[in-house]
């Protein structure tokens, strides 16, 4: 070896061994003497002096330990410490640390980052300064470049589609790198995923010339980096396009490339039978039907589990989650709606949810199934977090509000429940359940609330002549109001029994009313008739028996005119998996710590129940506190302040406080923190430089412009035509809206128009808050993988 083959050991390495923490801190703060490599970036410097690991194990070990410590120390700093030397310096140092991890393949640090992905992501996500200065992107690169399990596959597939829209275009590179490094077990699986990702990206981008050029460019790049014979390429393309609805569009695009063009699908299937998706729909439908018909879920479980296993195998094979998630939701929902479904079923379903949520994080049905499972097994606090996060993630979902309100009602938190139901009733005038639930709750709160309850119920009943619950509850309300209202109650019940003579429930109530009015024989006739029609109808039998034993009547109908006498209907039990309306009373006593609970039925696979992780809980807690704050509950503000005090990276808590201009004194707003910036712009839109905001936050440009529009509506000064047109054009375009809130904005713009439809300022305020909050913590895993 000549002298040129040896570079002298750099003195910094001795400092590293002597005091790793100090050496790394000095390096990343610019204090270290890197000479003669002064002009190298810090990551490049480390690569330069540590490139060959041989003989440097101690140095590597010291560096990894120190980097973990350094990153955690930076993460735990408050904002004042972070910005002491300037935000750019702070972010630049993070980029260098994360880049060094990639360049030197520091697996121990990478493992640490992966283990605490959510914690790091939440810290790094708001610190993006641009495509080259994006600490969160560097975190993903660390995951992408180092060996991982297939946990990140859904992310890489998602990034392929979202890059350039919902997140910077650089995420496409990270996604393709991640797919390349994925341990798959099959030689061409990595390429197949990458091609599928590219195909899905192209299809999502609406066949534009820009999308076409990009597709061709990346296709050529993959072609270069995956050297395969043309026949292999054709085979891999065939597999990659399997199950894609518009695969012919891709085939047409590749038409000029005869050497790699995938074949037209033919009858000769090369894929393994279990990967054929065509039978999944029929099988899941059949299972759902059998469950509905009353077949025991335990008897069906082997088939259910087989279906889930096959669909998830297809999902992992193809990157297409449709069949897996739809099967899970359809079968899971159906099973949970049956009151006799055992808890173990919910536990078994929970075991599938982490994967479903990874693949379709933005699918409210998956979240709802998650909540229902938690509810079924009695973990109501976790269930509540899921609902609060649903309310934030899916602001246009009425169902989650109603379900959350039901849960809160069971816990005796009626003020919050009423707030939620009012919100839902006002926001969703065409949806009945929230109004009916609100009316029920108001009735429980006392006679002074009867008029409002009646208003809501009448709205529903008058709009929908077929609606049974509203009429039955109206009848109950009339009965509770006193004898003079019995005729009105009978009118409502007769309406529904005439329209739906097979509805046993309303006929039983009618029989009870007739009994109360003294017409006992008519009541008995009605129940006898009902009993004869359906001898297995327990409800009718119960009613029939009760008519024969007058002593039961006071318990059922209670003393007239007393609030507590209003029977709790089984409505909620009929539409949700919530088994008993009395559950809240038992909640504390019966709470199940499911993490440690054995699954006793060997039929089910060993479960690792999903639960909301600490960050999801924190986010939900912030959302709940903000809701309380909006309800004028002083506890809400205090809760937000406590959350922010405990964790300065809690962007959601910071945002909700910023919204009411209550950020703690000295809290420095990160330069690229969209939500915090927009909170200020919303409060004082005239002082905001909207053009600059659009430029500064290009990924949220449509949302920013929409917020300006909403602010103008609130302030009674509609946007000028010139400003309105681009927003209108965006809303009218038939294009996907992958950025958070964009789809909602597009719909509002279309429905409300430039001058709005007279929404009150408070409603616009709530809308704006929701839309901005959607942009916080969007990258976070909704689920932690419990290892108990």
């Amino acid at each position: 070896m000549s002298e040129f083959d040896r570079l002298p050991r750099h003195p910094w390495l001795d400092k590293l061994l002597a005091n790793p923490q100090l050496a790394v801190a000095d390096l990343l703060s610019g204090r270290a003497n890197k000479s003669p490599y002064a002009r190298l970036r810090n990551a490049e410097f480390l690569y330069q002096i540590l490139q060959n690991r041989e003989g440097l194990d101690a140095e590597y070990d010291a560096l990894e330990t120190a980097l973990i410590g350094w990153l955690d120390a930076r993460r735990n700093e408050n904002w004042a410490a972070r910005t002491r030397r300037g935000m750019a310096a702070y972010i630049g140092a993070l980029i260098e640390a994360l880049s060094a991890i990639q360049m030197l393949s520091l697996k121990r640090v990478a493992y640490q980052l992966s283990e605490q992905h959510n914690t790091y992501l939440r810290w790094l996500e708001p610190l993006r300064l641009g495509t080259a200065s994006d600490p969160a992107l560097e975190l993903w690169r660390c995951h992408a470049l180092l060996p991982q399990d297939s946990h990140y596959l859904p992310y890489w597939m998602r990034f392929c589609v979202e890059a350039g829209d919902a997140r910077p275009v650089t995420y496409l590179t990270v996604a393709l790198q991640g797919l390349r490094e994925l341990p798959t077990g099959q030689a061409n699986d990595n390429l197949r995923y990458a091609l599928r990702g590219l195909a899905q990206r192209y299809l999502a981008r609406q066949n534009t010339s820009e999308a076409k050029n990009e597709f061709k460019q990346y296709h050529a790049t993959l072609h270069y980096s995956y050297p395969r014979a043309p026949e292999t390429w054709r085979t891999v393309w065939d597999a990659a396009l399997e199950g894609i609805a518009r695969a012919d569009t891709i085939r047409a695009l590749l038409d000029g490339k005869t050497d790699t063009k995938p074949r037209k699908p033919d009858t000769k299937k090369t894929a393994a039978p279990c990967l054929d998706p065509s039978r999944f729909h029929a099988e899941s439908q059949a299972l759902a039907n059998e469950l509905k018909s009353g077949k025991a879920v335990t008897a069906l479980w082997p088939r259910i589990e087989k279906l889930f296993n096959e669909t998830v195998a297809y999902c992992r094979h193809s990157g297409d989650s449709y069949h897996f998630v739809r099967s899970l939701c359809r079968v899971g929902d159906t099973a949970l709606k049956r009151t006799r479904t055992p808890e173990a079923t919910a536990r078994a379903l929970l075991a599938w949810l982490p994967e479903a949520l990874e693949w379709e994080r933005d699918n409210p049905h998956v979240w709802m199934l998650w909540a229902h499972c938690l509810d079924k097994i009695g973990v109501w606090d976790h269930c509540e977090w899921v609902y609060w996060e649903m309310r934030r993630y899916f602001p246009d979902d009425e169902h989650c509000r109603t379900e959350l309100a039901r849960l809160l009602m069971r816990q005796g938190r009626e003020a919050e429940a009423v707030g939620l139901l009012r919100e839902a009733a006002e926001r969703f005038p065409d949806h009945e359940p929230s109004r009916i639930e609100l009316a029920r709750l108001l009735m429980r709160q006392g006679t002074q609330h009867y008029p409002e309850a009646e208003k809501w119920l009448r709205e529903v009943a008058e709009r929908d002549p077929d609606d049974e619950p509203s009429r039955v509850i109206l009848a109950h309300l009339m009965m509770a109001k006193g004898e003079e209202h019995y005729p009105a109650a009978e009118k409502w019940l007769r309406e529904i029994t005439e329209r739906h003579p097979d509805n046993a429930h309303s006929r039983v109530i009618l029989a009870r009313l007739l009994n109360l009015r003294g017409d006992k024989s008519a009541a008995i006739d009605l129940l006898a008739e009902l009993s004869a029609e359906n001898s297995t109808d327990k409800f009718a039998e119960t009613g029939f028996q009760s008519q024969h034993s007058d002593k039961d009547m006071p318990q059922i109908c209670g003393e007239k005119n007393k609030v507590s006498s209003i029977p709790i209907l089984s409505y909620s039990a009929a539409v949700s998996p919530i088994a008993s309306p009395d559950a809240p009373i038992q909640a504390t006593a019966h709470r199940v710590h499911y993490e440690t609970c054995d699954v006793t039925q060997p039929l089910y696979r060993v479960t690792t129940p999903a639960r909301p992780d600490a960050l999801t809980q924190a986010a939900a807690q912030a959302a709940r506190a903000a809701f309380r704050l909006n309800l004028q509950d002083a506890g809400g503000r205090a809760e937000l302040e406590t959350l922010l005090d405990a964790d300065p990276d809690d962007q959601l808590a910071a945002f909700y406080l910023a919204w009411v201009d209550s950020l703690p004194q000295g809290y420095a707003i990160p330069p690229e923190a969209y939500a915090l910036t927009m909170a200020g712009a919303w409060r004082a839109p005239a002082a905001a430089d909207w053009e600059e905001l659009v430029q500064r936050f290009p990924l949220q440009r449509h949302l920013t412009w929409a917020l300006r529009w909403l602010a103008c509506l609130r302030d009674g000064a509609p946007l000028l035509d010139g400003d309105w047109q681009p927003l209108d054009k965006f809303a009218q375009a038939d294009a996907p809206h992958p950025a958070p809130g964009e789809a909602i904005v597009a719909r509002l713009v279309r429905e409300w128009g430039r001058v709005g439809i007279g929404q009150p300022a408070a409603a616009l305020d709530a809308r704006a808050q929701e839309l901005i909050a959607l942009n916080i913590n969007r990258n976070l895993d909704p689920i932690a993988f419990a290892t108990h």
Partner: protein, 314 residues
């Protein structure tokens, strides 16, 4: 440059007299600087506070000044070099047709590309750039590289000035030495992939348009425009450009004009050559190298009082 900050001046005096070659060289760089505007100097020295020692200065300069004002991140960031505060050093008379060259370290961009190319593959692509697939792959690499580059000032040289070192096969080492790029220290086992970039000045001039904050697209380099670097050497005010410290051994009596230009987006056609640096720099005596360079600068500019030789100082 005489510091208006007494603490810094005291430190400069101490370091300049130090037996430590590197610390003396870096102090000289600051002391010899004649071209930094008064306002910029004052801002810098105010921001510096009271550095107690060399490490303190290093930390403030690299970790604060450079990290926030010269090499910060963000698509909206403009380095101080090109802002009005540095107007005395900005160049507006560069002919658009002039070709600029720049030696780029490829380790970072190669590690961040989709294709995860090696330098050999990149050279292969370059050789086959007429073929559509190679051209597309090259385009992907360059696009991704651009997205991984911040708006940092780019040191560049004029092709016409260094052509004799850019043409031969050994261009990576010759240009490395000629342009004073000491941080590219390769060896047979630590091969540094480099690219020789060649781009027209017009592209740089065009990139300055449309942003009112940018006072000029080109500037003369100073000690404040990069990290504290022992092989940087300021040029006297009479010199039209920067002058790189030649690192060749034996020393070559050549001054090469260097300038700073605004960041541009590279295009595949700017990738002129791909090579590797497989030898460390050969010079051994920093003081001798700098003194020879200073003597040459004095001769070329006629400013015989410029700077101070290191020989005999300690």
């Amino acid at each position: 440059m005489t510091s208006t900050n007494p603490d810094l001046q005291a430190l400069l005096d101490t370091l300049a007299a130090s037996a430590n070659d590197e610390e003396a060289a870096i102090a000289d760089n600051y002391r010899f600087e004649e071209r930094v505007g008064a306002q910029r100097q004052q801002d810098y020295e105010t921001g510096l506070g009271s550095p107690a020692d060399y490490d303190d200065w290093l930390g403030c300069h690299n970790g604060d000044h450079v990290a926030n004002l010269i090499k910060a991140g963000g698509s909206q960031f403009v380095p101080e070099t090109f802002l009005a505060v540095n107007s005395t050093l900005q160049l507006s008379a560069i002919a658009p047709g002039e070709d600029l060259i720049r030696l780029e370290d490829l380790r970072y961009p190669l590690s961040k590309s989709t294709a995860e190319l090696t330098s050999v593959q990149l050279a292969d692509l370059l050789a086959r750039r007429d073929q559509p697939e190679a051209a597309a792959t090259l385009r992907t690499f360059v696009d991704e590289w651009n997205k991984a580059r911040d708006n940092w000032p780019m040191f560049g040289a004029f092709l016409g000035d260094v052509q004799e070192d850019a043409e031969p096969d050994d261009w990576p080492h010759r240009l490395r030495d000629r342009l004073g790029l000491e941080h590219y220290q390769g060896s047979a086992t630590k091969r540094i992939p480099v690219a020789l970039m060649r781009y027209p000045a017009k592209l740089v001039l065009d990139s300055a348009k449309g942003d009112e904050r940018i006072a000029a697209a080109f500037a003369l380099p100073t000690a404040l425009d990069g990290e504290l670097n022992r092989v940087y050497f300021p040029a006297p005010s009479g010199h039209p450009y920067g002058a790189t410290l030649n690192l060749a051994e034996p020393w070559q009596p050549k001054l090469s004009a260097e300038i700073l230009n605004l960041r541009i987006d590279y295009q595949p056609k700017h990738l002129w050559k791909i090579g590797e640096i497989v030898r460390p720099v050969a010079y051994r005596n920093l003081r001798a190298q700098r003194d020879q360079h200073l003597a040459l600068l004095r001769r070329e500019t006629g400013d015989t009082a410029y700077g101070q030789l290191m020989a005999g100082r300690s």
